[in-house]
């Protein structure tokens, strides 16, 4: 297919979408957006009332430093994640080397482990009294104050831990782009004499940039919103500062304002990225898919590839998990009964994911359509994702109070708490699914819709038979990730959990905050084990997926 018809087809396809969405499809998208942003809107209202001494104190003592800290965390982890995960994705998609098949899926394993669990493990491993530094002292005979050792409880330390936990987002984005890139483009580059380095830097990378940026955006929003890991490592980012201030001064108003600062910062950065990318886009002009022919790597490059991928898996998953298992064994911790906590975690994650999935489909379609509604949808899903869960709960509290006030609900029952919690999950995590739906729709060759049209399919049929299945294929990935993310969610669950509804994440956090890491190991390992199931399904789906076959 020539370039001209390719673009024309996609434009036409979009206009057909617009035609029928004008009438009835705006409503669901608007409703979904309202559901998504309502908690945040309630927070904005709270922020307007958040002045006074508390806020003045924040501005004078914390605002500047915490903003710099958040910027530093974002910059460092962005660098760490992209410089490792993108090359790793390129290597596993384009080359053959020992262990490649294993690494291709093992590289997403860190998704199963919450960042705060990694923080527990790394702080224990690397602090002055931990096994690593003790070994250093034993080997060298030096005292604890006679040598320099990188401090894990520091900004770079926190960036390292967050990157180790979140790089799979970047890897997934880059990988899907490299796999789906037309082999023809790369073959053409090869025929034109471009070496492997140039094919990567000048052909594949620019084409993959939007996907990498999307993956990095998800990871960086998590970084910006993270509370558990960052606070455990004693780093006062904006999201930590807002909660510390909220607790310290018993006033959620300044916290609401700080969350707006955080939001502005994050959106500012994404806007900047988009601005820098400019209007440059890469139009996939060929839909001729071929089996990717992976070039074999010779000995040293292969070793380098194994080393890079192996290190990532080791640091993001194996090492911290092994340490937790070791602690559990060493302290002979008596396992408590975690069946009800596991059941609660699964139930909440299930209900939350269901809500997210529905909202993601609706907003994902709107996002692909573009225009004002699309931009608004993009903003609606992303805004919740960049805000710590505890801030959204603040909004949920306000909404529940208002509903109670007007007599819509009667008292604070388990159901109210559960609905509130699921709502907050939806507001927080729909971005993952919506982006996946959007990406799937974007990747689908425009000719699909075109063919359906020429076969006489009406707009409704085209949506039902062509676009919806494509969107669902994207949603599968999104759903699995959202499930794992909700499983790991902590701050909102801590605030809104109903009676006797403790989840694994809450158990792990409660133990750790009581300084009983040994007891925290079991629920931490259990969350990871439960999270591994969807992550492994995801990796299986990934390694089976080929271009043109979703």
């Amino acid at each position: 297919m020539s370039e001209v018809t390719g673009t024309a087809a996609s434009a036409e396809d979009r206009s057909s979408l617009r035609l029928l969405t004008h009438h009835w499809r705006n409503m669901p998208a608007l409703a979904a957006m309202l559901v998504l942003v309502l908690p945040l809107m309630a927070v904005v209202l709270a922020a307007l009332n958040g002045g006074g001494d508390g806020w003045r104190n924040v501005v004078e003592t914390k605002l500047f430093g915490s903003t710099l800290t958040t910027l530093g965390l974002l910059a460092l982890s962005a660098a760490m994640m992209t410089l490792t995960a993108v090359p790793a994705a390129w290597l596993v998609t384009q080359y053959r080397f020992p262990g490649r098949g294993l690494f291709e899926w093992a590289l997403i394993l860190p998704l199963a482990a919450p960042a705060y669990v990694l923080a527990f493990a790394y702080k224990d491993l690397l602090n002055v009294a931990g096994p690593v530094q003790s070994a250093v002292r034993d080997l060298t005979g030096l005292g604890a104050r006679d040598y320099w050792f990188p401090d894990i409880a520091s900004l770079p330390g926190a960036a390292f831990v967050l990157s180790a936990a979140l790089f799979p987002y970047v890897y997934l984005g880059a990988r899907s782009s490299f796999v789906n890139q037309s082999v023809c483009t790369l073959d053409a580059a090869r025929l034109l004499g471009a070496g492997s380095k140039r094919r990567f830097l000048d052909v594949a990378l620019p084409a993959a940039r939007p996907a990498i940026a999307a993956g990095a955006a998800l990871a960086l929003m998590e970084v910006a919103a993270d509370y558990g890991a960052t606070s455990h490592l004693g780093v006062e980012s904006l999201s930590v500062a807002l909660i510390v201030n909220w607790e310290g001064y018993n006033d959620p108003g300044p916290a609401a304002r700080l969350s707006l600062v955080l939001l502005t910062l994050v959106f500012g950065l994404f806007y900047l990225e988009r601005l820098l990318r400019g209007r440059a886009g890469v139009q996939a002009t060929s839909s001729r898919w071929q089996q990717v022919k992976r070039a074999p790597l010779s000995r040293w490059p292969a070793l380098g590839a194994m080393l890079l991928c192996g290190t990532l898996v080791l640091l993001g998953f194996i090492l911290p998990m092994a340490r937790l298992v070791w602690i559990a064994v060493e302290t002979q911790i008596v396992p408590d009964d975690f069946t009800s906590a596991t059941r609660n975690s699964l139930l909440l994650a299930g209900m939350g994911t269901a809500a997210c999935a529905i909202l993601a489909i609706v907003t994902g379609f709107a996002m692909r359509r573009g225009g004002q509604l699309g931009r608004a949808s993009r903003f609606a899903v992303s805004s919740g994702y960049a805000v710590p869960g505890s801030v959204l709960v603040l909004g949920a509290f306000a909404i529940i109070a208002a509903a109670q006030h007007v007599g819509l609900i009667d008292g604070r029952t388990v159901v109210v708490s559960l609905v509130g919690l699921v709502w907050v999950y939806a507001s927080r995590f729909t971005a993952v699914g919506a982006n996946a739906v959007d990406a799937a729709l974007a990747r689908a060759p425009a000719s699909f819709g075109h063919a359906a049209r020429s076969l006489g399919a009406g707009p409704v049929k085209r949506i039902a038979r062509v676009e919806l299945p494509i969107a669902l294929s994207g949603l599968i990935t999104g759903t699995l990730i959202m499930f794992v993310e909700i499983l790991k969610e902590l701050p909102a669950t801590l605030l809104l959990q109903p009676f006797d509804w403790e989840t694994l994440a809450v158990r792990a956090y409660n133990y750790a905050s009581d300084e009983r890491l040994a007891s925290a190991t079991l629920p931490s390992l259990l969350i990871t084990a439960v999270g591994l199931v969807p992550v492994i399904i995801l990796s299986r789906a990934l390694s089976l997926s080929r271009p043109g076959r979703h």
Partner: protein, 347 residues
């Protein structure tokens, strides 16, 4: 493959939500049984055994919401008069004071309890102590005997670069400084805080256990911690943990000059408590010798009841002289303590 996945995932999600709904129905039966709703900032597995014992004895079911104290405070505040909470259990008088200040608690009437009200309580008994904890000094074994006897000694410049302590945002430090403000006056307390800050070995990080481990590892020689963290290490199954305690020792400060700073794990009666009778029965149980033992056996705290069991090796702590100021002082001086910490730069 894909279709199967989609239908599989959808089916399991549906099933999960259905189970979720049937879960909710449980609550409709609860009106008939006697329950007490506890908001607890304590997270010990032994608490479960404690509540089960209470249930077995009284037939009253204990339902808990376990979270951090500040999350519980925020939740209760949002719930207002609708809150299902009957009781709040939290460590540190300063924390319980925050609940009291927010009007979330009501006085516990002494004549409705089986025994006497404990002396360690809020002025109006809207919360009462259940067990005691001491804020002590842990030093490396090579710190000379008698080199440190009082909190005031920590301000001595000879300890420059020797002190490890956690963040000043932690309530334990806020209450300690609140106590010292009461003992020496705000100016002297600020001088003390500034001097101690000047003796830091490192910026505050981690919890109390981390400070003890840092002393054992040689990163500093002195730590300010709650006593039970040391005792838990001493009773740990891990040999490494026990080695930490054999390399260090506890000093109970101010034995002849006002006493070691004591604090409590306490319980408050919620202002809107829907099950007050049941709540008072649980308080009775927790103050009984049996309840006291169950409360502290895993935590290493000191029971208020001298007859009650406690963790092994606690004799010195149980016999130490403690300060006598009313616990309400810690709460009243909390804001000033926070300001002092901010001014002297103790993060």
């Amino acid at each position: 493959m894909l279709k199967k996945l989609i239908s599989g995932v959808t089916a399991s999600l549906l099933a999960l939500s259905l189970i979720g709904c049937s879960q909710d129905d449980d609550t409709s039966f609860e009106a008939e049984e006697r329950v007490v709703n506890v908001y607890s900032a304590r997270h010990y597995d032994s608490d479960k055994a404690m509540y089960e014992r209470f249930e077995a004895e009284t037939g009253i079911r204990v339902r808990t919401r376990q979270s951090g104290a500040s999350q519980l405070l925020e939740t209760m505040r949002a719930e207002g008069g609708e809150s299902p909470a009957d009781l709040v259990i939290a460590a540190d008088a300063g924390t319980l004071w925050q609940f009291q200040e927010d009007g979330l608690l009501q006085p516990i009437a002494a004549d409705r309890l089986a025994g006497d009200l404990p002396a360690l309580a809020a002025d109006d008994a809207s919360w009462i102590g259940l067990s005691k904890r001491l804020r002590v000094i842990v030093v490396a074994n090579d710190v000379p005997e008698d080199a440190i006897r009082n909190y005031g000694d920590l301000a001595d410049p000879r300890w420059e670069g020797e002190i490890c302590v956690r963040s000043s945002r932690n309530i334990y430090n806020l209450s300690l400084l609140g106590d010292l403000i009461d003992r020496m006056g705000p100016e002297a307390a600020e001088e003390w805080a500034a001097a101690v800050k000047g003796n830091f070995a490192r910026d505050p990080q981690g919890g109390d256990t981390d400070q003890i481990r840092a002393v054992a590892a040689g990163a500093c020689n002195i730590a300010i911690v709650n006593h039970y963290y040391w005792h838990r290490l001493a009773n740990s199954a891990s040999e490494d943990d026990r080695e930490v305690t054999s390399a260090t020792r506890i000093i109970f400060p101010d034995q002849s000059t006002g006493g070691t700073h004591r604090n409590v794990t306490g319980i408050g009666l919620a202002a809107s408590s829907p099950n007050t009778e049941e709540a008072l029965e649980l308080i009775d149980f927790l103050l009984s010798t049996e309840g006291q033992g169950l409360l502290v056996v895993e935590t290493g705290e000191i029971p208020l009841d001298p007859q009650a069991d406690s963790m092994a090796g606690l004799d010195d702590a149980r016999n130490a002289a403690t300060n006598s100021a009313p616990l309400a002082v810690y709460g009243r001086n909390q804001a000033e303590a926070r300001e002092i910490f901010d001014r002297v730069g103790w993060d």
